[in-house]
């Protein structure tokens, strides 16, 4: 689990095998493993901030917002933030797994839309098909993408870019170019799962929490989850260790597709319809939350707790902007972009501080 950052050309997600070669051929990298790094206080602080920065920042923002805006720390407002975070949160779990394994998945926004359309269509046959159909199709899309990436060594960025186009095209084709909108009966059990509340909180929030808990256990406590870190850290070393690298990568894309489908189904249940234009650009939001959460895009390191904090941070900031009274989406975009820029710059500087001694 190295936390090295390539100073340039670090687009490991797209770089695939070539980056792997560069990774090995570079003497400085060899010394980057945490064991060999001197444990100076500054470095330890830097590493701690990089890993735990997002939860700390979230706590600070929430604290400040609670004092600054009387409407912020109310139960209703917090419940609404959590609900708004639920779809993105579920998707971001899958994205985190993929990014830890050294890949990237640009298709999640389209797969999310496709999952919603399929769920709304299948809901007429009952609640089970309403989940089974989108999960099966979206999982299959993830599986196919993973196979192209893992078995044929094609770059993840491009394969999932094709997935982005293909899944959106499929969603449009299923709805007659968006002219047909599949409706979910308001009183269906399926619809209840989307807009029902338990203890005053929408059910999708519980789904999100469950996905995060299961994801955390998978990542931290199972061989398969730990293998993601190994593959992301060094693909060639993992191959030499005898890990089934291709299968591990395929699994990560499969899970990512499944979760995007699940999020889409829940959204269809909430909006009681399947709309093929949902989720445009969500892949970017998901990547942003993962990055803000301290997961490195070069792979091999990351945490779901950070990702959860990253998702919540984005949504809390939007909520704070609304508290100020500007419902202006332009302002939201500028603030989100600036926030992301600041976070990645700070992270790059922190990583550099950690690696300085090996220089």
């Amino acid at each position: 689990m190295t936390s090295l950052e390539k100073p340039n050309g670090g687009n490991r997600s797209a770089a695939g095998a070539a980056a792997e070669t560069a990774h090995i051929s570079r003497p400085a990298d060899v010394a980057d493993s945490p064991e060999r790094v001197g444990s100076g206080a500054g470095e330890r602080v830097a590493r701690f901030l990089q890993r735990q920065g997002a939860p700390i920042l979230l706590a600070l923002v929430v604290l400040v917002a609670s004092f600054a805006f009387p409407g912020f720390a109310t139960f209703d407002n917090v419940a609404s933030i959590l609900f708004q975070a639920s779809g993105l949160g579920i998707i971001a779990v899958g994205m985190t797994l993929v990014i830890i394994s050294g890949g990237i998945d640009l298709s999640v926004g389209s797969v999310y839309a496709l999952g919603g359309v399929l769920a709304a269509w299948a809901s007429r046959y009952g609640v089970l098909p309403a989940f089974a159909v989108p999960l099966a199709v979206c999982g299959l899309i993830g599986l196919v993408q993973g196979t192209f990436i893992g078995r044929f060594g094609m770059p993840p960025f491009i394969v999932t870019l094709a997935g982005l186009l293909g899944a959106r095209g499929l969603a449009l084709a299923l709805t007659d170019e968006g002219k047909t909108v599949y409706k979910v009966g308001w009183n269906d059990t399926f619809a209840q799962l989307g807009h029902g509340k338990v203890f005053g909180i929408y059910l999708p929030v519980y789904f999100m929490v469950a996905v995060f808990v299961v994801g955390w256990i998978y990542l931290q406590r199972t061989k398969s989850g730990q293998a993601l870190f190994a593959v992301g850290g060094s693909e060639s070393a993992s191959t030499l260790m005898g890990l089934p690298v291709a299968r591990i990568k395929i699994t990560s894309y499969l899970i990512c597709g499944l979760l995007a489908g699940l999020a889409g189904a829940l959204n269809a249940a909430y909006t009681i319809s399947g709309v093929p234009t949902q989720g445009v650009g969500w892949e970017l939001d998901a990547i942003a939350s993962v990055v803000i959460g301290g997961t490195l895009l070069v792979g091999g390191a990351g945490s779901l707790i950070g990702t959860l904090a990253g998702v919540l941070l984005l949504k809390v900031i939007l909520n704070v902007i609304n508290q100020i009274g500007t419902l202006n989406t332009s302002v939201q975009m500028v603030v989100s972009g600036a926030f992301l820029a600041v976070v990645v710059v700070v992270q790059a500087l922190l990583t550099r501080a950690q690696n300085l001694r090996d220089g």
């Binding site: 084709a173 970017l284 302002v331 500028v334 820029a341 550099r352």
Partner: protein
Amino acid sequence: MTAPTVPEQLPDRAADAVRERQSRARRIGWIRDYGVYVALLVLIIFNIAATPNFVALDNLRVQLVQVAPVMIVALGVAMVIGTEGIDLSVGAVMALAGALIPLYLGYGVPVAIAVALLGGIASGLFAGVLVASIGVQPIVATLALLVGLRGVAQLLLGGQFRQISSPEFNNLGTGSVLGVPIVVLVAAVLAVIVGFLMRRTVFGRRVVAIGGNPDAARLAGLPVRRTLITVYLLSGLLAAIAGVLLTAYQKAATPSTQGLLMELSAITAVVVGGTPLTGGRVRVLGTVAGALLMQIVTATLIKHDLPESSTQMVQAAIIILAVYVQRDRGGARR
């Protein structure tokens, strides 16, 4: 591609195997290098035969005018990808450049265009400094710009779109010189310039060297940081040029939609054109052909009454196919 020569002392069967592999590599290499041109040619021939009015001058003009902005943006993205980077900000830069035009048109067309291009340069400079000097990964650095810049563009025009009534400016988008639309002329000239930059200048060799192996480039004493910043700056500038032309063509600045998803179209054109995402190679002519190919595919499907959804799925298939035939390179490196 220089394949190693067959050592003479190898036993016959082994030598055969090596020769077989070499000829296969050569075949695949050929598809990789010329596949996009062949596909483009096949498609054009198909259209001449099967699509009514395809060869009509009006239709060709429309196709070229529509593809020109994608092509211009893709030229910049190709250079960035050549350094093993990526630029997701180009669509937002187009929106920003478009939004700046109506604000400064009062000072004259040249001033407005200059300001718009400066906006693109500033954005590219920002991305370049983040990537080269601070060490932020290109995809996140430019992602932040993608999110933020469109917001800035919308704020500049107060969330509205703005019609532009200056005939002098709009002529850039709709006018022609000797029957060739100005937009197409600009794209062609820029393609020649970028092609010259990449093939015949020290700068071009540096871009390829950095993409091939950044550490070797640094150890060889190349100005890696300066070159990288220049590449992102040029990408921003080219995106801004495309934004200005598109604004003139539409006779309006529409910050909320202008250049939306352009980053994906541009990356597609570059990849289909045979530039590997792993850097170290920039194919300018291939990029031009890639953009043309995607445009004509779309036009063909629309002309034959196929819906938008099929266009997207066909594009996805082309991307997968293009990268599949190119993957030989990645495999060889591993």
